[in-house]
């Protein structure tokens, strides 16, 4: 999985200069792994009980909470671009001739 973001990215030149697109790729993949971990056995089994929090079943509450967090994180990751789009040439892929 080293596609779009990696293309045209400069090689590492110290921690502070990790290219933006590459960082985004790393974040997205981490989010996917975290999402799979938090939405599966065994963590789910912790919440699999008949109990209400804020009047909502705890399993239901937990699932929707994680779901919402993933959506929020995704929005942050994908819209985090201090420079305008023209300033990140690595993300602008070559158009068809």
């Amino acid at each position: 999985m080293i596609e779009p973001g990696f293309e045209g990215a400069k090689p590492y030149s110290g921690d502070r200069h990790i290219p933006k697109p590459q960082r985004r790729v790393e974040r997205v993949i981490s989010l996917l792994i975290a999402g799979i971990a938090f939405l599966n056995f065994p963590i789910l089994s912790v919440f699999s009980k008949i109990e209400l929090v804020f009047g909502i079943p705890v399993l239901y509450f937990y699932l929707f909470l994680v779901w919402g967090l993933i959506i929020g994180a995704m929005a942050l990751i994908l819209h985090d671009r201090p420079q305008k789009s023209s300033a990140s040439p690595a993300e602008k892929e070559p158009e068809e001739r």
């Binding site: 999985m1 596609e3 779009p4 973001g5 293309e7 985004r24 790729v25 997205v28 993949i29 989010l31 996917l32 999402g35 799979i36 939405l39 599966n40 056995f41 789910l44 089994s45 699999s48 009980k49 008949i50 109990e51 209400l52 804020f54 009047g55 909502i56 079943p57 705890v58 399993l59 239901y60 699932l63 929707f64 779901w67 919402g68 993933i70 959506i71 929020g72 995704m74 929005a75 994908l78 819209h79 789009s85 892929e93 070559p94 068809e96 001739r97």
Partner: protein, 905 residues
Amino acid sequence: MLQHWVILLVSFGYLSILFAVAYYADKRADSGRSIIGNPYIYTFSIAVYCTGWTFYGSVGRAASTGVGFLPIYLGPTLAATTWWLVLRKIIHLSKTNHITSIADFIASRYGKSSVIGGLVTVISVVGIMPYIALQLKAISTSFNVLFQSTAEKAGEISFGHDTALYIALVLAVFSILFGTRHIDVTERHEGMVAAIAFESIVKLLAFSAVGIFVTCTMFDGPADVFRQAAAAPETSRLMSMDSLPGGYASWLALTFISMTAIVFLPRQFQILVVENVNEEHVRTAAWLFPLYLLAINIFVLPIALGGIMFFQSGSVDADMFVLTLSLKHEKTVLALFVFIGGLSAATGMVIVETIALSTMLCNDLMMPILLRLKLLRRDGMGRVLLAIRRGGIVLILLLGYLYFRLIGESFALVTIGLVSFAAAAQFAPAILLGIYWKGASRRGALAGLAGGFIVWAYTLLLPSFARSGWISMSFVEPGPFGIFELGPYHLFNLTGFEPITHSVFWSMLFNVGLLVGVSLFGRQEALEQLQAAMFVDVYKKRAPDSADAPLWHGTTLVSDLKGLVERMLGAERANAAFRSYAVQHAIELHNDASADENLIAFAERELAGTVGAASARVMVSSIIEGEALSIEGLMKILDETSQVIEYSHRLEQKSRELEAATRELKRTNERLKELDRMKDEFVSTVSHELRTPLTSIRAFSEILQDDENMDPQQRQQLLRIVVQETERLTRLVNQVLDFTKIESGAYQWTREKMDLVAVMQEAVTATGQLANNRKISVTREVLDGPVFVFGDKDRIVQVIINLMSNAIKYCAPETGKVHLRLSHTANEAKIEVIDNGSGIEPEERERIFERFHQLRDSSKGKPQGTGLGLAICKTIIENHNGSIWVEGNHWNGSSFMFTLPIMTD
């Protein structure tokens, strides 16, 4: 009270609104002011994922499995996290290759193979059949529920079983109007996308409305629903994972297949990839679409729980709770709205799915067959295409109806849908491996897809037929021919999984296994390699103008090429395309000129946008004269070029290695020459040294022999010289012998504990005479106590004597000074011999300890000594685990020093 005609009127009225939306969007698109060119419409159109399944089925599933409806929506959320990487690449590839469908995409990746395209089409049509049936079931059931609520009062009879057939036919007409209205068959349908986005908003509103009604009107808010539900055992069990059949394994499997379904269901691929306007829209859709899913699912569980509690006995189909709950409360307007929402969800799915499937049927199944049979040579092929597509839509809907009639009554909505999801998952390996692994081959993909499809059909499709009575139930239990191990729900004795999980496991194992295995052990053809490299490396920059140009190596006339494109696209579009090509490349296209490779490639791409990559290839090759496909030749050239490059790389490396070796050899040679010279000098020195005493011995001996009358005193003096010279000779020979002995390792060391102070004393005494002769002052600096080391005392004394006599030899007589110093640290003792002699050049300091090396000093003429003294010293010291070296000092002389390890008790 709802009259039949009201229901029908509202339904058709709603469909007309949809049509108006589509028509408006198409008009806007034609005038160049597209309304779908923004990420929000794109996101809403993706929500075609939420079908009658979501609208009716989720509640039904929640009513029996609790949170079991959620993996279908959590999977897409997880998948959406990768969209920025994976989906964007797929979109990019599809745009550059004018991809028209998922079958086209896979076929294109695997060498534009029409066999693969056909197989994917068959899998899609068969796999999606249950899904279409699900929509028909959802709509017809909801119709019947509505009708019955009025029929009870009016005593009328509803349409009965054939509701589904009428619905199928109406939907077919509607889909044809939507998707295949135009003569110019393009891959994109702006009007449809706009209508789908509109439908997505309607179904979200309708479902939220009934959700709010149930939680806030029937109950006192969500907390009240859950509190009451928690109190009753039949509802409280839905609040944990225990109510999900198959448990966590099933949860994982459902998450997995819905992750793949969100992109690889034919209609999702159509909306996400083919209808995509701008790759940038993925950025927003990747989080906004999951948010839509979350919103439409929030009320599912409250409605399900409310429904169960309201209809105590369970006599009502849970799939229809959303409708029945509002009907029971006499909320007819709400019920109608809900019905419209469900209609939206189901029709949206059917429209997009049938359009996507009919495109595939036409481009990837029928066209290649017709082209092979040479049945498509007449003008106006566009009309034929349209006819095929329209026929395809009707066929697909009828297949769906057939499946519904067969098994519709025996399954819940979600169970039917999951069968289709498992089928769509079969495309995931071929696509995902295909865009990241060049090695995935056509044969591999073919084997994987076929294998996965067969396992899927065997473990999911056939058993559903068995339920309907088409096949004997004994096929499912215990298994075909009574063999338990072959039973479709416990293949090879794998038990403990529920049918979906079981099928997903086996089909994926076969699919991925065959794809990877066959790819690894087979060869790829030239076109495959080319396409594989193009798909995997799509973002790598290519040299401009090199895109597809060299693929065609025959000739054809511009007019022929234009004629072909015209037949497919219509004269107007073809002319426009060729004009824009001419403008772009600043050339003029004459009809009777021969088309160059770029133009042929351009025409192929244009055609691919309409008939798919595989068909376009066949078509273009049919009008090219001469050698149509020169890819093998091209690849050969490429191969040769890369081999030449490879060879030259190797040559360069070899020559670098050779250069290094040469340098090494040169250095060694110099050293050898130097050693040789030293040896020569040594031999001559030794001979010279030997000859000098020998000459004098011989001369004096002759004098003694000849002159018998010499006076005794003079004779005595001569004899003394002879003896002295003999001693010198012996010493020299001894030294040579010593050295060779030590060097060859034959010397016997006699090691003992010794005091360095005493050793120094001995050496000073031994050299005292020599120092006195040259009038050189020798001073000493020793420690109070003894310093013990372990070693060969005589040899250490020899080292010090050697160093001291050297020092004395190189000091000027009278003014010469030699200082001897002993010091030590915790581990080692250090002895220094410091003189104020002529000193040693820094560059000589290393080599002075080498054997035969002698200081050359022009002012002193021939070298003094044998050149062995210091070499012997070094050997001895190193043999004692010490080290010896020389430095300059403040007297401008040299300081020789060596260290020895101190003896610890």
